[in-house]
């Protein structure tokens, strides 16, 4: 196969998977999962094949359409970033689909579920492969659609459909900024291709560059759930848990970071400071909220928000992408492990009132779910940034990069200090989560503990594979030093990670502090309702929008249309006045004639039976006949 065919194959296999899954339908839904998992493996192989047949980076452009003198192209850009993301998305998608076959085993609409997953993979691959802003925006929205469909998969649950709608709308708000950013690029750079972003057009002022950068960044704020648009992600947990693992932890939410890496040349210093500031705020906010959750998935969701903030602190450099990669494995793992717990409890309970996600009802599960327990610990350790695990390396890299920048701009030093605070909190809530779920005694009274058991290989193997990929040794021969990682050579040969000896110790110390604090509070639950932004936004945006809508409706009926009706009324009044004058004064004189006309009228009416439409019709026909007659 030529590279061009390979590109199209890679992009379109998941789309075919979507069509096949829907086509097979309800009756053959049991084989759908195997087919789509197989397609993901095929896609993985195709990606490897492509990476062997072309040199990186490769750009392939197909003419799409032309407006004015400008050609719009559909282009593929295959570089190391794209390669990494392709492998990552396909691999995790594969594991998640295997896992889903058991998790969704009894769902009557699972063909639809796998179809939507494939639609997601298709859109995500589009984001990864496209070489221009129009393309990335298009797939960006399609990812939003698949997220909407999957969050609202159980559409009879009102909370799920509301969460889906919220996710789509909040993302759209971010996308408005993104869209305006694209317009700015088109206006000032004259093209939408990523390639031109490195250039500096003649009429580009620093002001314009700053605004463009910040507008493009809005897209990332929405999709990657950054403050102030982070509120949709916790609600998105209404979707099936494997979906949360794939989309709302490992891949889609990371698309914002990928976008950041793609458009990085546009950013000015001010833009970088804003990005780091937003990232830092989000990281702290997410960690704080994570502490106060009682729902096993909600803790992880807020943790994802916080980790995405940390990726922003990497400013879209290779360090961001490194954390994206390590995070994808351990966070997908955490969600799948949580899914394994929920699945096991759900199976054991058969009790509808039982909330299988409430950590206050869990405990002691290490005895019944050993594989889940051990892998969960590995994922949690990685997330907390303990040495020997992958998370340690990528956090180290982000901090090293940050403190290198801090040498020139002390603003980044403050961000760096807060990052350590974030690490303390992360270790704190993760330790507590492990403890609450797996240690101590089982606390749910109406679930028979002895009925809880581990799932089949479809559940455990994905966990084990992800656990292996969360070990530091996978990424660096010396798992204590991020600068030894192979990743840097792979992603960007020119990138040089600044080395620093103290950061590693400081971050280990922070994580250790978090664990100690977690151990001390292990038996306390923090189930206080922390005020969220949801209420604020509800009042600020939803209420005002609806108020405006009702106001405009009132204005439309009573003023705009009212004015029209008033005008008609005025005309009628005048007409009545004229008619009065006509009948009483003018007509009095000619009444005699009129009476005669009336008689004739009565006679003709019989002939013409009063159907107005027929008269008009006849008149029109006559006219058209005349036209026709004159011409031909």
């Amino acid at each position: 196969m030529t590279p061009a065919t390979l590109f199209w194959f890679i992009l379109l296999t998941p789309l075919a998977g979507f069509a096949i899954s829907l086509g097979l339908g309800k009756s053959r839904k049991d084989i759908v999962g195997w087919i789509t998992s197989g397609l993901s493996v095929l896609n993985l192989l195709l990606t490897i094949g492509l990476s062997r047949s072309v040199a990186l980076p490769t750009n392939l452009r197909v003419e799409w359409f032309k407006i004015g003198q400008i050609d719009f192209v559909f282009g593929f850009l295959f570089d190391s970033k794209a390669l990494m993301m392709l492998l990552l998305v396909n691999f995790i998608a594969f594991l998640v689909q295997i896992f889903s076959m058991e998790y969704m085993e009894n769902d009557p609409a699972k063909h639809r579920y796998f179809a939507f997953l494939q639609l997601f993979v298709f859109s995500m691959l589009g984001i990864i492969l496209t070489d221009n802003l129009l393309g990335i925006y298009a797939f960006w929205e399609l990812v939003g659609l698949s997220s909407y469909l999957l969050i609202g998969f159980w559409y009879q649950k009102t909370s799920a459909t509301q969460a889906a709608k919220k996710a789509f709308l909040v993302n759209r708000v971010g996308d408005l900024g993104f869209l305006l950013g694209i317009f700015m690029v088109y206006h000032y750079w004259g093209s939408l291709s990523f390639a031109v972003l490195g250039q500096t057009p003649a009429n580009l002022t620093p002001e314009v560059a700053k605004i463009t950068g910040l507008l493009l960044f809005c897209g990332c704020v929405g999709k990657s759930a950054q403050f102030p648009l982070h509120t949709w992600l916790p609600d998105a947990m209404e979707g099936p848990t494997p979906v949360s693992a794939l989309i709302h932890a490992a891949t889609m939410v990371a698309a914002g970071i990928f976008l950041l890496a793609r458009v990085q040349p546009v950013f000015t210093d001010v833009a970088f400071m804003v990005i780091a500031g937003i990232g830092c705020t989000t990281m702290l906010l997410g960690s704080i909220y994570a502490i106060f959750q009682t729902d096993i998935k909600k803790t992880l969701a807020y943790s994802t928000i916080s980790q995405l903030g940390l990726m922003l602190i990497g400013l879209g450099t290779a360090t961001s992408l490194f954390h994206l990669l390590t995070h994808a494995f351990f966070k997908a793992g955490l969600f799948l492990a949580a899914g394994s717990v929920i699945h096991a409890l759900h199976h054991a309970s058969h009790h509808h009132d039982f909330d299988a996600q409430d950590m206050r009802l869990m405990g002691g599960l290490r005895k019944k779910l050993p594989v889940t327990f051990i892998t969960f610990i590995i994922f949690a350790a990685s997330l907390a940034g303990l040495p020997l695990f992958s998370g340690f390396l990528s956090k180290d890299a982000i901090l090293a990069n940050l403190f290198h920048l801090a040498e020139m701009n002390s603003y980044f030093k403050i961000i760096g200090i807060f990052t350590f605070v974030g690490i303390v909190m992360t270790a704190f809530y993760m330790f507590r989560q492990v403890w609450q779920v797996f240690m101590g005694e089982f606390r749910a009274e109406n679930v028979p503990f002895e009925h809880i058991h581990e799932g089949s290989f479809k559940i455990t193997w994905p966990l084990i594979l992800l656990a292996i990929l969360s070990l530091g040794i996978v990424f660096a021969m010396n798992p204590f030093h991020a600068d030894h990682a192979w990743f840097w050579h792979f992603i960007d040969n020119g990138f040089h990670l600044p080395t620093s000896s103290w950061i590693g110790y400081a971050s280990v110390a922070s994580a250790g502090l978090g664990i100690v604090l977690g151990y001390l509070t292990r038996n306390r639950t923090f189930d206080i309702q922390v005020p969220t932004f949801d209420n604020l936004y509800h009042w600020l945006f939803v209420k005002t929008t609806m108020l405006l809508a009702r106001f405009f409706q009132y204005a439309d009926t009573n003023w705009v249309d009212g004015w029209v009706n008033q005008l008609a009324f005025a005309q009628k009044t005048i007409a009545r006045a004229v008619s009065w004058v006509d009948t009483k004064i003018v007509d009095g004189g000619v009444g005699f004639v009129v009476r005669w006309i009336g008689i004739i009228g009565k006679m003709t009416r019989a002939v013409q039976n009063g159907k107005v439409q027929l008269y008009v019709f006849a008149a029109l026909m006559g006219l058209l006949g005349l036209i026709f007659f004159f011409i031909y």
């Binding site: 559409y155 809508a549 249309d561 058209l624």
Partner: protein
């Protein structure tokens, strides 16, 4: 007979046929109509395929003298039967073919006075096509008025409970609009001449074949110097000659150098504003849109389909065919105002849609919002914006037709369009839900569907415009969130959640074959155009480029 004439007169001829057929054959009327509109659709596809994208000017041109009237010192009045297509009208003709065909299938629901209904429907078809192919302003106006009457009766006889109010409102609104157009038309007629006919009349040449560009310049020079006797001037409605300022009488009111002004504004600007009002009502633009929700709510489903699918486009088309080419300088002077009207329409329509509980009214207001994008794109006077506007018109034609057919599905089952009468329809009507979701997402501008391309390019055009500031487009972009808001909210309220309805479950049956036959092709077409927008852009680009040249 040329194919364009056939497109006009075939449905009109069959309209007469239906009228003459005896009443006891009424079972065949709908099949005749479906057949005729199918042929129309195929013919329009044929024209599309034959259309040469790279030729400048009009194609399939037919010109016949229709009325020539010597008026002494007022010169000679010349009205031609002049029809042809270019890249702007081509998509509209194709759209007419499609929507009229879909509308005829949708008309199967009409259960009374079939003869009159189908005769009027076919008459409407012919007049709409006539409107899009007419290149003589008089002929255009004639067809423009022709459309009014069938529409008036289609709403007024087969409509809902308030049909009399809605139809008369529609009629008077549009009639007022067309009076504005009429005034400008007369003004133009008195001001401009047909240089070719004038050359014949003055005896400079004796046959049409002798016309050369030099000769036309010669005539125009003589005209400018006032050396042509007024009784030999051939006044014209020819839209090919009206954009050339050299064809205007030097002292005439609408000449470029005319310095007559009323209320501080030149006559040409007034003329442009008049056209803007006339076509703005049709579009419809806020604040002259209030006939639309009423007309839609009362109109039967097929008439709504045709109204939203095609008739609104005549507003946008009229601006591009008449207002802008003839008064380009007024267009650029007033661009800011027009863009504001466009953006207000986008937002105002969207806010109103958000407040609606009647599904059909919601879609009517969403049409106001979507046509606002058309106005914004046109106002931008950029290639992106105007191409985007043409595309948006085409796309909206498909999508609004689909949306109104979808509303009709529900209405035909329960006669209730209130959103709060339904909940969780997805579990009872899965195919219907899926297609509604497709139509909603396509309408809210989801990429891969046509709506996205239209909105993207009208907005990017607005952003690139030299004639108004960027914040105007920035405001317009808000319409995208509001659009997503009302569509998704409706989806959630009506289709998701536990099933509940004011009506018996058995009434709410899923789509039947006839409904699928209308909806699937529309959905697929919206998808195809979203992925291959070149199908429209390749056709429109050349014509838009020529139009753009007038503004630099």
């Amino acid at each position: 007979m040329s194919v364009l004439s056939l497109l006009i007169f075939l449905p009109i001829a069959f309209s007469v046929v239906i009228l003459l057929l005896p009443e006891n054959l009424k079972g065949y009327f709908k099949w005749i109509t479906v057949g005729v509109t199918a042929v129309e659709f195929l013919l329009s596809i044929w024209v599309y395929l034959q259309f040469d994208q790279h030729t400048e000017g009009f194609q399939f041109l037919v010109q016949k003298d229709w009325i020539t009237l010597p008026l002494g010192s007022l010169g000679v009045a010349s009205i031609d039967y002049l029809i042809g297509v270019d890249g702007i009208s081509m998509p509209m003709i194709l759209l007419t073919g499609l929507v009229m065909f879909i509308g005829s299938i949708s008309s199967f629901e009409i259960g009374q006075k079939e003869k009159a209904y189908y005769a009027l429907y076919l008459l409407l078809t012919g007049s709409v096509i006539g409107c899009f192919v007419a290149l003589d302003m008089f002929l255009f106006y004639l067809f423009f008025e022709f459309m009014l009457l069938p529409m008036y009766f289609l709403i007024g006889i087969w409509g809902g409970p308030r049909k009399e109010y809605a139809s008369i409102k529609f009629f008077i609104y549009t009639l007022v609009g067309s009076l504005f157009i009429l005034v400008v038309m007369i003004g133009l007629y008195l001001s401009a001449i047909d240089p070719v006919e004038t050359a014949l009349q003055t005896g400079l040449i004796s046959e049409l074949e002798q016309v050369t560009p030099n000769l036309i310049s010669e005539i125009q020079r003589l005209l400018a110097e006032g050396r042509l006797p007024s009784e030999q001037l051939v006044h014209t409605f020819d839209l090919r000659f009206l954009p050339d300022p050299n064809n205007f009488l030097p002292e005439s009111w609408l000449h470029v150098f005319s310095n007559i002004s009323i209320a501080g504004m030149g006559l040409r600007n007034w003329a442009f504003i008049f056209l803007l009002i006339g076509f703005g009502i049709k579009l419809p633009a806020v604040p002259v849109h209030t006939w639309l929700p009423d007309a839609h709510v009362e109109a039967p489903t097929p008439v709504s389909v045709v109204l939203a699918g095609i008739l609104l486009k005549i507003g946008g088309y009229g601006l591009l065919r008449i207002a802008y080419p003839i008064f380009p300088e007024a267009g650029s002077e007033l661009a800011f105002v027009i863009a504001i009207v466009g953006v207000v329409s986008i937002l105002y329509g969207a806010y109103n849609a958000l407040a609606m509980n009647d599904l059909k009214k919601l879609i009517a207001y969403s049409s106001v919002s979507h046509m606002g994008f058309v106005l914004l794109g046109i106002a931008s006077l950029t290639s992106e914006g105007i191409n985007g506007a043409v595309f948006q018109m085409f796309s909206h034609g498909i999508l609004s037709a689909m949306l109104f057919v979808l509303v009709g599905v529900l209405y035909s089952r329960t006669h209730d369009r209130r959103i709060n009468s339904y909940q969780g329809l997805a579990s009872k009507m899965p195919v219907y839900t899926a297609l509604t979701a497709v139509a909603f997402f396509a309408s809210l501008g989801l990429p891969a569907f046509s709506g996205f391309i239209g909105e993207f390019f009208t907005l990017i055009g607005g952003f690139n415009s030299l004639y108004f500031p960027k914040w105007v487009t920035g405001l317009g972009v808000l319409g995208l969130v509001l659009g997503a808001g009302y569509f998704l909210w409706t989806l959630q309220r009506m289709f998701f959640g536990k099933f509940w309805s004011r009506y018996e479950e058995s009434v709410l049956s899923d789509l039947n074959t006839r409904e699928k036959l209308m909806l699937f092709p529309l959905a697929i077409l919206a998808l195809i155009l979203g992925i291959f927008p070149n199908l429209v852009f390749d056709v429109s680009n050349q014509a838009v480029n020529e139009l753009i040249k007038l503004f630099v």
